[in-house]
């Protein structure tokens, strides 16, 4: 049988088109739908207003994460508006028979952490959530992306959304990452090269040795940040690393179903000679530990470099100067040695066990710098339990750090974890937008290693000096 070579993305997308509308979007079937307390209440309200129900409640999974406190989770939530959203999620999921891992549930955590770690996310699936970092799940060879609340209502009521098929881009990086260079540095490097809108209109496939050699945690970090490039999402072909991660996960197939699933998953790769609308190639040797200095994730550079001059960046000069003014930085300044006030380890980008291992590898035998306030927030209770089991908590405690409870926390500062105005935070999260981590907060995005190096030295430090 001779067929046209196709991409991984085409294979998964085309298998989920219920109907093609002429001169319109595809009616696109969704296998798994995640919801949380912030972007779902209005969708449920919409169902009630229209008098329609939830079509397949067993395909939707709820967790509370965005506005939850990260201390004293056993106490009633103090903020009445947050408490109201959490109650609405509990009420709505109970009413329609949707699985709900609320605050206090041992499975609770950040939606993009708990989906994969419980085997809800599987290769070849289509996955959506009212959260842009749904792209994370692409690490498993799934098509996963964020949607708005109107679309949440569509998925609840019909398990479909209306989507025009995006263009396809492949980013290939071969070679071996250097010492101190970790998964987070790879997408931050790509962002510094292609800007925060460089992949708008595209769906990315990440390919090459760098991604093949990454753990699932690392791949999730990469796909998580594909939205920051403007892409609809990013994906990586499933392989033995993927299968080993999934084997034995609670909701992953088992027994005969596993063998059948595995046979299918092994077909999920881009054929040789398949065509992409755009191909980009980089080399691993180009990448050093990265850090951002501006107010979008594309404004970053190697940690040993100086802040670029306005003429060297692709963003417009006015926007660039606005960003530097907000950050209190000037063109051509060194970034190393800049004073840091806060360190945040956590989020759907870097709140997994591997991130805590990396952080611990640097702070072990050292002490937290006196000028640093550190918030270490595991992505889920399962991650929290692993941190304790592996002895990482002891290392952190010995170095003067405390562990908080799971949630999105200071990544978007919807709860009390807000960086004060004017303060500098080295953050392992995903966005350095103005006010993202609190009104007036100044964010420098970086890897868990760079965050740890800042946490023990009090300034921006090259982690390679401490390894």
């Amino acid at each position: 049988m001779s067929t046209t070579p196709t991409t991984l993305f085409d294979k998964v997308w085309d298998a989920h088109v219920v109907r093609k509308i002429e001169d319109g979007p595809d009616v696109f079937f969704i296998d798994r739908h995640f919801i949380h307390e912030v972007t779902s209440p209005v969708a449920f309200l919409g169902l009630e207003t229209r008098g329609i129900g939830v079509m397949f409640p067993e395909r939707t999974f709820a967790t509370a994460d965005h506005n939850t406190p990260t201390i004293n989770q056993h106490m009633p939530v103090k903020d009445p508006l947050s408490a109201n959203q959490l109650q609405a999620l509990e009420r709505n999921t109970a009413k329609y028979g949707i699985s709900h891992w609320g605050l206090g549930n041992p499975k609770n955590g950040i939606v993009h952490v708990v989906g994969p770690e419980n085997g809800i996310t599987l290769p070849g699936m289509t996955i959506v959530c009212g959260d842009s970092h749904t792209s994370t799940h692409g690490a498993f060879g799934a098509i996963a992306f964020g949607i708005g609340t109107s679309e949440v209502e569509m998925v609840l009521s019909s398990q479909c959304i209306m989507q025009p098929k995006p263009k396809k881009m492949r980013i290939t990086i071969n070679g071996k990452l250097g010492k101190g260079v970790v998964a987070k540095d790879v997408p931050l490097f790509i962002l510094s090269q292609i800007t925060a809108s460089g992949a708008t209109g595209y769906f990315i496939e990440f390919a090459g040795e760098v991604f093949e050699n990454m753990s699932m945690e690392g791949r999730m970090t990469v796909c998580n940040l594909s939205i920051e490039m403007g892409a609809r999402g990013g994906m990586i072909a499933p392989d033995e690393t993927t299968f080993a991660y999934l084997k034995g996960k609670e909701k992953a197939p088992a027994g005969e179903a596993w063998d059948k699933a595995l046979a299918y998953w092994k077909t999920l790769k881009t054929d040789a000679d398949a065509k992409f609308d755009l191909e980009l190639n980089f080399e691993a040797s180009q990448i050093e530990p990265q850090i951002t200095y501006g107010t979008n994730p594309g404004l970053g550079t190697g940690i040993t470099k100086h802040i670029p001059k306005a003429v060297e960046v692709k963003d417009g000069e006015a926007s660039y100067k606005k960003a530097l003014a907000y950050m209190g930085f000037a063109e051509d300044e060194a970034i190393l040695g800049k004073k840091v006030d806060y360190v945040f380890l956590g989020s759907c980008t870097n709140g997994r066990i591997e991130d805590f291992r990396a952080f611990a590898s640097i702070v072990k035998g050292r002490k937290k710098a006196d000028n640093i306030t550190a918030w270490l927030v595991p992505g889920s209770h399962i991650v929290e339990a692993q941190i304790k089991e592996e002895g990482i908590l002891d290392i952190l405690t010995e170095a003067g750090f405390q562990l908080r409870q799971p949630g999105c926390s200071a990544c978007l500062a919807m709860n009390d974890d807000k960086i004060p105005a004017g303060k500098y935070a080295v953050s392992t999260s995903n966005r350095n937008f103005e006010g993202r981590q609190g009104p007036g907060a100044r964010t420098l995005l970086a890897s868990p290693l760079v965050a740890a190096a800042a946490a023990v030295t009090g300034v921006v430090t090259d982690p390679r000096e401490l390894l």
Partner: protein
């Protein structure tokens, strides 16, 4: 929720010539705590519009009474970042019905159409002409015709056509939405689901 029909909009416009206006600026996360779609316009561009003590920042365009209208004109890569539909709700609730830029982030563009705001993508050159026209006369009117898929600077007559797919155009012209469409094909979806791998 079915929304207002969109046909021809003739209005002055509010200029925001900044690139990468992300949805955290359009509506900061701390204002996403409502469980109803009400009142988001008050917090549109909250931290650019108000000081920490809630007094208006005089240099921000929404606080400048010489600018008004139902069209918001933004710089390249408008609506990047978070998928929060609250950003589109805030723009709608404030009174805008159309956003013009040379480049929209994907999710925002979908969200805008889904709440009844028309996102109009123009060339960087035409965007520049619009900004210049508003600079010359803050009351300069634009005419956005959905049936003709054109945007015109009325003072000069300069115009450009824009792209929208036939399905979305039909929906906006008639005030239909995707949920109406999807509800009409539930049997087809059920059969599809029964045969799906997961």
């Amino acid at each position: 929720m079915a929304y207002d029909k969109f046909n021809i909009l003739r209005s002055s416009a509010v200029p925001l010539p900044i690139e990468n206006v992300d949805t955290d600026q359009i509506i900061p996360a701390r204002f996403l705590k409502a469980t109803e779609r009400k009142g988001f316009g008050d917090n549109l561009f909250r931290d650019w519009r108000y000081n920490a003590d809630d007094t208006p920042k005089q240099d921000f365009v929404l606080n400048n009474p010489i600018y008004s209208g139902k069209i918001l004109v933004g710089g390249k890569n408008f609506g990047s970042g978070s998928s929060r539909e609250h950003a589109a709700w805030a723009i709608y609730d404030y009174g805008f019905r159309c956003v013009v830029s040379s480049f929209f982030a994907d999710i925002f563009k979908n969200n805008a159409i889904n709440v009844g705001i028309l996102p109009v993508t123009v060339s960087p050159e035409f965007l520049d002409k619009i900004f210049k026209a508003i600079e010359a006369d803050p009351k300069a009117e634009l005419e956005v015709s959905l049936p003709d898929q054109t945007i015109t600077i009325l003072a000069t007559g300069e115009n450009e056509s824009f792209v929208i797919n036939g399905y979305k155009k039909h929906n906006l012209l008639n005030g239909y939405d995707d949920i109406d469409y999807l509800q009409s094909m539930k049997e087809e979806i059920k059969s599809f689901a029964a045969a799906s791998k997961y």
